[in-house]
């Protein structure tokens, strides 16, 4: 464990020899980083800008004599956006927006709770660690597309889920049960993943903190609330942030498990993808820009409200551990 805690310290070392190598290394760093930035500019930055531009245009209606799409587009300003918020399109959009939000809130909450519970169990396990570690990786390794057909099979009308539950629920048909099915499938795949990340956070909490707490008479629940939870918070927050952003763009599960054009599970990504494959790039781009803004806002709000520090997670956690250790030691002395 010492290595864990030392790793960030060693990262500070080079600053000692900084003055000697600044100009040279600056150029070298720029050279080494430029391929990555060129690739990211081409596959991320350019498409995003292009999507924003695209959302302000519409293609000239109609096909030519050979049945090919007529080239050329027309600037329509915000028309693609206003079209989304009026008439039938509005209903479809708000349903998709609601579904996306519903999936995200419910699934991420469930996954976090379950993942935390799993991490605590794995942390307390003295034997069977290898087994549990291997099995926890299974849901993560199963491709989402495969897990979707797997759950569709499980949720068949005469499938194993209904046999176990002794109920006849038509899981994969339109309705609230379809949402439940998607959430179950998503939770199965990702809760163990959160568990792994949180477990890593748990393992760097020094044991002596718990010993000190025990000496002071803190019971298990108090220990969990006052030591475990605050100290795994950075690890947990980063895991939840990534899950949050991932669930907001959910596509594979509802698309394969339930199908296209199903109002009870259609997400914003499905909506945009549907428009795009039907060559309506303008509306598709408008949907994807809205989703992009939604994801950005959600990430921003999450970081602002809960203070998730993605890059500095390691550093801040270390600091928290150190501060807590100091405080406990001080308290132990005064007591």
């Amino acid at each position: 464990v010492t290595t864990t805690i030392d790793a960030p310290t060693s990262a500070v070392q080079p600053s000692a020899k900084k003055p000697r190598r600044t100009e040279g290394t600056g150029r070298l760093a720029a050279g080494l980083l430029s391929p990555t930035f060129i690739v990211l500019a081409l596959v991320v930055v350019y498409p995003i800008i292009s999507a924003i531009r695209e959302s302000l245009f519409t293609k000239n209606a109609g096909l030519d004599a050979n049945g090919f799409i007529v080239d050329g587009e027309q600037f329509v300003g915000a028309k693609n956006y206003t079209a989304i918020f009026s008439g039938d399109a509005a209903t479809r959009f708000w349903t998709a927006f609601y579904n996306t939000t519903f999936f995200t809130v419910i699934a991420v909450t469930l996954e976090t709770g379950l993942g935390l519970a799993m991490a605590l169990v794995m942390h307390r396990a003295f034997r069977g660690r290898g087994l549990v570690r291997a099995s926890v990786l299974v849901p993560w390794a199963v491709p989402t597309a495969v897990s979707a057909i797997m759950w569709r099979w499980i949720f068949q009308a005469d499938g194993i889920a209904n046999t176990v539950l002794r109920h006849q629920i038509l899981w994969t048909t339109e309705g609230f049960q379809a949402k439940v099915a998607v959430i179950i499938a998503d939770t199965w795949k990702t809760a163990p993943f959160i568990g792994l990340l949180v477990l890593a956070g748990l393992q760097i909490i020094p044991q002596e903190i718990y010993e000190a707490a025990r000496v002071d008479g803190a019971r298990a629940w108090r220990q969990f609330r006052l030591i475990t939870l605050p100290l795994v918070r950075p690890a947990l927050l980063v895991a939840v942030l990534f899950r949050l952003l991932d669930t907001l763009r959910m596509f594979d599960l509802p698309y394969i498990m339930i199908g296209v054009h199903k109002t009870s599970v259609e997400t914003l990504t499905m909506l945009a993808q549907d428009e795009a494959t039907n060559v309506r790039y303008g509306p598709a781009a408008a949907y994807s820009v809205i989703l992009f803004l939604y994801v950005t806002l959600a990430a921003f709000a999450f970081v602002k409200l809960l203070g998730a520090d993605v890059i500095g997670a390691a550093r801040s956690e270390r600091k928290a551990v150190k501060a807590r250790r100091l405080r406990l030691r001080r308290e132990a002395k005064t007591a």
Binding site: L32, L33, F126, V146, I149, W151, W153, Q203, R249, V295
Partner: protein
């Protein structure tokens, strides 16, 4: 994230808190929890595997083991008209190329981020991580239009290029963490011996970073192997479909309305290599996952 923790250290750690002897049933609670987790994780996958080995005629059986063990579903998957072999090959090409390109480009960036001192370093890292958080669809819509114009639809590059958008940030982040773990004395020694920073990287760091590169390669490969929406959108010809897309579009090789047996068999085929890789390299993968924190 935090657990830059070398997995060995975690595994070899001796716990100081022993289970209380007097606990009675309480002592069994952790084992109960472990059993619950294992069942939770493995049971649905087990059901898929068992269903794949049933005869198409008793596909809807609910027995724990197939009453008549059969590999008929598997041979159905590989019938020439299904074209699943080609789909697997496509997946290997797309995921393999994405992994190789990502590693080549990402290694340079990660080395700079982990070992060199320059201004805006944290900003650069933040920007790279942020790009992985964008919703894929906002990239796919304009790229689909672009690829249609330059006749890239139904090509490997139309799937590989967009895949870089999520694979590259993942790889850079992972590799950065790995490079950071290596002692700086190594390079200092190399520099004192007269190496340039570039030589120090090539001759000293790279050979030692091989395990980290390998882990990153596995993680990147799995991420691109599991990709679905890009492959679905950029390709409409059956011969160019990846395995994931092919499975989702299976039409009955056996003439049922839903070819579940065939789908389960295909699902097992697609997943088994990953599960085996995961079991063999679990320590490395967990170290990589918890270090990356991304996917």
């Amino acid at each position: 994230m935090t657990a830059i923790a070398p997995p060995v250290a975690v595994a070899g750690r001796v716990r100081t808190a022993p289970p209380r002897k007097s606990g009675g049933w309480k002592a069994w609670l952790p084992y109960l929890g472990i059993a619950a987790i294992v069942i939770y994780c493995v049971a649905p996958f087990y059901w898929m595997a068992v269903s794949a080995f049933r005869r198409p005629n008793d596909q809807f059986e609910k027995t724990f083991l197939p009453t008549h063990f059969s590999t008929e579903n598997f041979s159905a998957v590989f019938r020439p008209d299904v074209g699943f072999g080609r789909a697997l090959l496509n997946s290997v090409v797309v995921a393999g190329t994405t992994t190789i390109l990502t590693l080549i480009v990402g290694t340079f960036a990660a080395y700079a981020l982990a070992r060199l001192e320059f201004r805006f370093k944290n900003l650069v890292l933040a920007v790279i991580i942020a790009t992985s958080m964008f919703p894929g669809i906002s990239l796919i819509v304009p790229l689909l239009k672009l690829f249609t114009q330059i006749h890239w639809i139904n090509t490997y590059q139309s799937m590989i290029v967009p895949s870089l958008s999520f694979a590259l940030p993942l790889a850079v982040w992972n590799l950065t963490v790995f490079f950071r773990q290596m002692p700086f004395e190594l390079e200092q020694a190399a520099l004192i011996d007269g190496c340039t920073p570039g030589q120090a990287f090539r001759k000293v760091i790279m050979p030692l970073a091989a395990p980290g590169l390998f882990t990153t390669a596995i993680l990147t490969f799995i991420a691109s192997w599991n990709e679905f929406i890009i492959a679905l959108t950029m390709v409409n010809k059956k011969e160019m479909q990846t395995a994931n897309v092919a499975i989702s579009k299976f039409t009955g090789a056996h003439g049922f309305d839903q070819p579940f047996g065939t789908q389960m068999a295909a699902g097992v085929i697609v997943t088994i290599p990953l599960v085996i890789a995961v079991l063999i390299f679990q320590r490395r993968i967990i170290a990589g996952l918890t270090a990356g924190g991304v996917k």
